[in-house]
Symmetry: C2
Subunit: 129 residues, 2 copies
Amino acid sequence: MNKTVQRTVIFEELHGVKIHPTADEVYAMARKRMPNISIATVYRNLETMATNGDILRLDIAGKRRRYDADLSKHYHLRCRSCGGVSDISQAAISQVTQKLEKLKGVSGIEGYSLEFRGICEHCQNGEVK
Amino acid sequence: MNKTVQRTVIFEELHGVKIHPTADEVYAMARKRMPNISIATVYRNLETMATNGDILRLDIAGKRRRYDADLSKHYHLRCRSCGGVSDISQAAISQVTQKLEKLKGVSGIEGYSLEFRGICEHCQNGEVK
DNA sequence: ATTCTTTTTGATAATGATTACTATTACTAG
DNA sequence: CTAGTAATAGTAATCATTATCAAAAAGAAT
């Protein structure tokens, strides 16, 4: 993994924002400092960094993949209006998860999705789908 | 909303499975009964049915959209191996959400994502992104 | 049932996001 | 400095989904 100007720019730009940008948004930010960086370079490096554990690839609903420079465990709020993703504090989440039923009453919160990842019985038994 | 053979087939096939298929998978199932149904018809009808509230459009991580004929409130497990999505009972979820920290110990569960939807402060203040 | 109007279909083109490819350029050992 | 490897820009290809549109099917009215 060589050090290149492009990689540094991408990494720094991702660290510079509190939102969780898509590759496209990182591309737009990087372009300001490096006008002819390629969109392919941005996609490629975000994926590599995520695989190396240097940044987080947010596996979240929506058709555009998002990345996060904050590696600590935290949760997200997706805005119905702008489509952006922002953080929810761990403290807030704890309260909320203890009373999921009352969620709808929380200001601004309209819904949530909870998805678990693992191996289903089917696959555990070695059956071919 | 007229009644057509295609619509009936799509609806019935979706009801016939416990998995939560993608449009592609519904297409494959429908084809067995109606060899020259168009993939566009499947996409179109799944979307229409979801909008009408006849089926659920699962807004879930992953690049392929999934649909569910079970309208009751429930949660999902995505399999790392086959990529499929299966159900998790409400009872199980209740226990789990009460002790999220112990999650990793549960057999087969390797991770989860929790996403809230609503309007962020930014948009609530009418700021343009 | 026949005609008229509207909806739906099948086939395919278009789109948007992401990934693959490739010739060229930049790093890094030695 | 030079050979060898890795990374880049530019662009083509792919994948999932959506849009388009002429032809076929449904429903309504006669």
